[in-house]
Symmetry: C2
Subunit: 117 residues, 2 copies
Amino acid sequence: MEHPLTRCARFEKASELMGKRWTGLILRILLAGPRRFGELTDEIGSISERVLSERLKELEAEGVVSRHVDAGPPIRVAYQLTEKGQALWKVVDELGRWAERWVDVKPASAARKRKSA
Amino acid sequence: MEHPLTRCARFEKASELMGKRWTGLILRILLAGPRRFGELTDEIGSISERVLSERLKELEAEGVVSRHVDAGPPIRVAYQLTEKGQALWKVVDELGRWAERWVDVKPASAARKRKSA
DNA sequence: GCAAGTTGCTTCCAAAAAGTAAGTAACTTG
DNA sequence: CAAGTTACTTACTTTTTGGAAGCAACTTGC
């Protein structure tokens, strides 16, 4: 057993994974169900295909997502979360809750926001 | 109210914040209590001072951490979480739980690891 | 049956972010 | 008053990301 608040290699590794640009967004989308490459680019909006491809490979290498090729005829590739990946739902969920409570989308004007939310 | 699984600007912003290298680690340390600049560098270990300084400024700008100068005589600067920052404990905590359950520190050999954990 | 899509990437190059090392300002200690 | 400590900053290199175009393997249109 490890102390929860001392340095922890596992946490560092997890943080390195989640602490990469776009990973949180990709995970959030995949938590809603499998997606194809093009769907991910569309839903994320501003990610470059180069980086999406890279991120998906990393996540696959970490065992967080799995890649499924459906040889069609219309060939399609779907990405979905593994069990390990699905287990991240709590992290994504808590981040979402925090965001709804604390993140203000429009930083200027009408920034008044108390506990009332 | 917003749908939890559609595109959400708040989540994107939160994800952009957490999705920067070192942010998770910094937050985890500060959740244990205030820290000085040098303590953070020591506890994180491999972060460069340049980037730590940058990250702290970003977090301060986002209202997640606050900077306190104690004009000493031995001048000291302490960083601590704001209420907004402390609210992130659940996210960090869930990531820590996930890491303990799913992240294997030594990737090669003895990698067998079932539900038993 | 072949030019014109579509999908899922990859490659190339420029821009942004992070790593490394040294420097600085304001003290404190010897 | 030279040397050390703390909290950064600056300059420079390496890595990562962005943007656009290219490409292979099909499918559709005519």
